[in-house]
């Protein structure tokens, strides 16, 4: 990981001509029709689009949850998909190379804050003490270190989302997929989360894709991918209020 961090080209994500077809024959539906996307390390981009536009399908393809029909995906310098998976252990790929932040935090209710974050590195074989140390460092960076021993049910919505972000970052993945991370939050907290994501992207050289239709945060992105009918269009954003 540290070696990757020193080489920016080893991080980020590139997608070329990605398609996804559901079903066969006359009933087939093309959810993605040749999506192209590049997100550099340290960059946060928005992926916006109406319901049914293919946002979730794209997120699931990027997250190696469903298999695309064709196209190419490159994570850092690794081709992970080229008209077929090039990685045999998708679970390990998700664990080590992709971070997830969900609409709801979905923290594990029976683990305290530290262990919710430390669980991922532990699953990857990192010793418990080191995993907890790593988790604590992130919780400190996200200013929730004072809730380290609290259970998820004892946290506010904003605190829970920050812990979820820490969990997404803890394995230092090259890419983070954030699915409507500000949906349950008010404007102030939503902007705070986006600010944190930008800080973390820079600090850890992580490419972050934020799926959203939250009007209040769209102006914060410097680059936005609009998706409609399975096709993406890139445009420059305002990049306001993220520093």
């Amino acid at each position: 990981m540290d070696k990757n961090r020193s080489d920016p080209s080893a991080r980020g994500i590139r997608i070329e001509g990605l398609t996804k077809r559901y079903g066969h024959g006359d009933t087939a539906v093309d959810a993605l029709k040749g999506v192209n996307m590049v997100v550099a390390p340290g960059e946060v981009v928005g992926l916006v689009g109406p319901s049914g536009s293919g946002k979730s399908t794209l997120l699931k393809c990027l997250g190696a949850i469903i298999e695309p029909t064709s196209g190419r995906m490159v994570l850092g310098q690794d081709v992970i998909y080229d008209n077929g998976w090039k990685i045999s252990d998708l679970r390990a790929l998700r664990r080590d190379k992709i971070g997830f932040v969900f609409q709801a935090p979905y923290l594990i209710p029976f683990l305290d804050v530290t262990d919710n974050v430390a669980l991922l590195p532990m699953l990857a074989g990192v010793p418990n003490a080191e995993a907890r140390q790593r988790a604590m460092a992130l919780l400190t960076a996200l200013d929730v270190q004072h809730r380290a021993k609290a259970m998820p049910s004892q946290l506010s919505g904003g605190e829970q989302q920050r812990v979820a972000i820490a969990r997404g970052l803890v394995n230092r993945p090259p890419v983070i997929l954030a699915d409507e991370p500000t949906a349950p939050l008010d404007s102030e907290r939503a902007l705070a989360v986006i600010r944190i994501l930008n800080q973390m992207a820079k600090q850890f050289d992580t490419a972050i894709i934020v799926v959203t239709h939250d009007e209040k945060i769209i102006p914060t992105f410097k680059r936005i991918y609009h998706i409609r009918d399975g096709v993406t269009h890139e445009e420059a954003g305002e990049g306001r209020g993220t520093n």
């Binding site: 946002k55 979730s56 399908t57 997120l59 699931k60 997250g63 949850i65 469903i66 679970r91 390990a92 998700r94 664990r95 080590d96 997830f100 969900f102 609409q103 979905y106 594990i108 209710p109 029976f110 683990l111 262990d115 430390a118 669980l119 991922l120 532990m122 699953l123 990857a124 418990n128 259970m151 969990r167 699915d179 409507e180």
Partner: protein
Amino acid sequence: MISLAGRDILHAWGKFVLTGIGLGLLIGVTLTMAGVYRGMVDDANVLLDNSGADLWVVQKDTQGPYAESSSLYDDTYRSILGISGVARVANVTYLTMQVSQIGDGKARDVRAMVVGIPPDGAGHPGQPGYLVEGRRLTRGHFEAVADIASGFALGDRIRIRRNEYTVVGLTRRMVSSGGDPMVFIPLKDAQEAQFLKDNDAIRAQRARTAQSPALNRPGVPGLLDAVIASQSTNTSVNAVLVQIEPGTDPEAVAEPIRRWKHLSVYTRMQMQSILIEKLIATAAKQIAMFLVILAIVSAAIVAFIIYTLTMGKIREIAVLKLIGTTNRTIAGMILQQAVALGLIGFVVGKVAATFWAPVFPKYVLLEPGDAVRGFVVVIVICVLASVLAIRAALKVDPAEAIGG
């Protein structure tokens, strides 16, 4: 790696402990049922041990005296005593009946096995062992030695049929194969109790005999008196208990008795087989059936609880799968919870069974071997019961963690 199962249990320990207690009571009932069976086998063995006999001589073609009724003349023992290899013999009668305690404020009925024995000394077959208080029977009439399980105390007066007896001794673990406490009385009294009719019946029988031309013939003086005398006395016993000389083969002694005396003879092994395989066979099958039903009910409860707990964590499981948790880790978490539930249940069940066994109306023998077997069965049931929940958890699509 942290224990996900352990953390989940600690998080919802109240629910887990209460479920474990419920399951434990069920396991306690299961262990008790097994203990009841063991108790019945032990009662049968104790009955044989306490008789002090090596051979049981009974009426031909019967499986008496415990499993079937058997009637022998009470002088049969003399001819048995003369057979080579026989050390001691004793007539004995057995009769399971209600024994009434009498006296001011003490009136009550006790189900007991009344054993008639000759008032011989210690060591003779049929004599009560483990005398814990008082003395043996020394007189020919109206004394009794009772097992402490009967609740009688020294000096208590009890009524058996028409006669009253004084309790002069107390024994321990002298029970019938059904677990009823034994009450030893002199053989003559026991013969009367078993075979003698009440006064009205005797008078009616005498009248009937006197009216019979065959038994009251004119010109045969003394015949009627002789017949009535034979009808009024009883010379039967249920069995003759035989002790053989040390080093003698029981079969070598039994064989001539069978051949020349036209009686049935059972060795210790044969009598054990009659008691355990025949006398308590139906009860054993009933208990086995209960054990199977209880095992199925326990499995269903564990499966239901674990399945419900798992279904309540579907979203968390989807998140775990999405962030890269292996199926093995998730299956392990559910399996560990099922096993933990089984462990809690087993400990509660074992403790509960140990506490209520002494107050159980029937003798409950909780053997360590049964506890070990029960533990293994509980764990196997829990593992099998978790399969349903594990299957459901492994089917969870990680995409469920992502909306849309």
